[in-house]
């Protein structure tokens, strides 16, 4: 059962929210994709850190 089937109930609080699809959830723990995101997030964070000092 995916997250949508498990928790979302019609007209409950969470019926009007976005809920990730199985693909999005899979990508969050896909090691190759996450390695790429790791580099990207680090670059972005370093830019913000630089702008802040």
């Amino acid at each position: 059962m995916n997250e949508i089937e498990k928790y979302v109930k019609p007209y409950d609080d969470n019926f009007t929210t976005m809920v990730p699809t199985s693909f999005v959830i899979k990508m969050r723990t896909c090691k190759i994709w996450q390695l790429f995101r790791f580099i990207m997030i680090n670059i972005k964070m370093l830019i913000v850190v630089r702008k802040s000092h």
């Binding site: 969050r28 996450q34 990207m40 802040s52 000092h53």
Partner: protein, 489 residues
């Protein structure tokens, strides 16, 4: 030889003291007055609070580090300031009371040329009946604000897991314990760590998770929320927060002022003025923060606390405290140099400075109760401010009283936050977030107040790895290991 006294050995104070000692060298003295014998990497208390780290892993002894840095360390708490000195001497001084070093309870007057107040927050549990009293946290709830609190929370959490394994359903209530709390981010991180550990223990189906907070919308975080680019839209943090809570099966109650805590039950008032109750088996509710209650006296011994400190106990700095209503607030109200307007050799850094006003919009119930987040000053801004203030003080000492003061406005700096669920290298995920600037500037960025290129966030393993790296990197830096000055705040 000048003496710089730093009050508080937390994120801001430790950063200020260590950089000041490094920049001033042996020609001048840096003194740290702090009641704790250990430094605590507070963000990792979350992992301690679910039993995934020991408190020893998030703390270390300060004495050897200060000895290495040539800093005079006094394990004591500051009690009062005499910025004009006394009738006997013009030299300003701070009165301290020892908490360790074999002198517990003894008082001392420490004179200073420059003083940096980085005393952080008083965890004001007493503001909510039952959440605690003047002696600290009460018996019905737990906290993760200190390493000891988090250790206690982990034990209580373990007991709940045991009960669930025996078939007893448990309800977890996590959030803020008063209508005027800050630090929603810590509670947010904690509830998703609880959720993660419950899954790991195979008892998620036996648990009800309930969020309760003073935010007027989920994802406000005390910074009025934020927007991120997603799929061609500038999407509000509310969407992402609600999405995450839905995905993990966490129910939410917002706009809530918890006004009473009893065994297994909290009472609250909502923004619409209605009252309610929520039961719990395990509750972690963040207390409101206040200044640590330092007093100030003039030369004649008259109480001038109201001149130096704001009514909430935080120290007045170069902020605009007369901005008035929300509609009049500007990014330029926020302080730049953190110098006290009355006494130019007094500075405040981190949570200890009095913000000009909240960041989130103030809201009041029909009954007159104020319910809105007070402004957070997270680790990165606290560190950056601590360093900027140390820089200013060093320049004042080395270049003279007309030296240019260094600036670090929260309306011109960003913050990076990583809220991680889980501790393992491959079984956790984290929400990695940056926001720029921390305080929205609606003149520069009309509409949403922030730069969409530098405000972003996403959930995944990558953020989780960053959280691990930050844990080790900041402890490495705080221990002043080789190259520590190169690691940014």
């Amino acid at each position: 030889m000048a003496r710089v006294v730093v009050l508080g050995g937390g994120v801001a104070g430790h950063t200020a003291a260590t950089f000041a000692a490094d920049w001033l060298g042996k020609d001048h003295e840096v003194v740290v007055v702090t009641p704790n014998s250990k430094w605590n990497w507070i963000p990792s208390n979350i992992w301690v609070g679910v039993g995934q780290m020991s408190k020893e892993e998030v703390t270390f002894e300060l004495a050897p580090v200060y000895a290495k840095a040539g800093i005079t360390y006094k394990q004591a708490k500051a009690v009062s300031l005499n910025p004009e000195g006394s009738t006997n001497s013009d030299k300003p001084f701070v009165t301290i009371e020892y908490t360790g070093q074999g002198k517990a309870g003894q008082s001392e007057e420490v004179t200073y040329d420059y003083l940096i107040n980085a005393t952080g927050p008083k965890l004001n549990f007493a503001a909510t009946p039952g959440l605690g009293d003047a002696n600290g946290m009460g018996e019905f709830t737990v906290s993760v604000c200190t390493a000891d609190h988090a250790d206690h929370a982990a034990h209580e959490f373990a007991k709940c897991i045991e009960k669930m394994k025996k078939g007893e359903r448990q309800k977890f209530l996590i959030g803020t314990g008063h209508g005027m709390c800050t630090c929603q981010g810590a509670a947010f991180e904690y509830i998703f760590n609880i959720e993660h550990e419950l899954r790991k223990a195979g008892v998620r189906d036996m648990a009800d998770l309930q969020w309760i907070s003073n935010e007027s919308f989920l994802g406000d975080f005390g910074i009025g929320g934020l927007h991120m680019k997603r799929g061609g839209y500038a999407a509000s943090s509310r969407l992402f927060a609600e999405s995450l809570y839905s995905e993990r099966g966490v129910k939410w109650l917002i706009g809530a002022h918890v006004n009473k805590v009893e065994k297994g039950k909290v009472s609250y008032e909502l923004l619409d003025g209605s009252m309610g109750e929520e039961s719990f088996d395990f509750a972690m509710l963040i207390p409101p923060f206040a200044g640590v209650g330092l007093k100030a006296y003039d030369k004649a011994g008259e109480d001038i606390t109201a001149t130096v400190f704001a009514p909430n106990g935080f120290m007045k700095v170069d902020a605009n405290y007369n901005a008035g209503a929300y509609e009049n607030w500007k990014a330029s109200d926020w302080p730049r140099t953190y110098q006290n307007p009355t006494y130019k050799n007094l500075f405040a850094a981190g949570i200890a400075f009095a913000p000009p006003h909240p960041i989130s919009k103030p809201m009041t119930t029909p009954n007159g109760t104020q319910i809105f987040p007070t402004p957070p000053r997270t680790g990165m801004p606290s560190g950056i401010i601590g360093k900027a203030v140390a820089h200013s003080v060093c320049d004042l000492i080395k270049k003279g009283p007309n030296a240019h003061l260094h600036e670090a406005s929260m309306a011109e700096m960003g913050a990076a936050c990583v809220a991680s669920a889980g501790k393992g290298l491959f079984d956790g995920t984290a929400a990695a977030l940056t926001v720029y600037p921390v305080v929205p500037d609606f003149e520069k960025y009309p509409g949403i107040g922030r730069d969409l290129d530098y405000t972003f966030g996403e959930i995944g393993l990558a953020g989780h790895w960053i959280k691990h790296i930050l844990h080790h990197m900041f402890i490495y830096k705080a221990k002043l290991n080789p190259g520590w000055t190169l690691i940014p705040e």
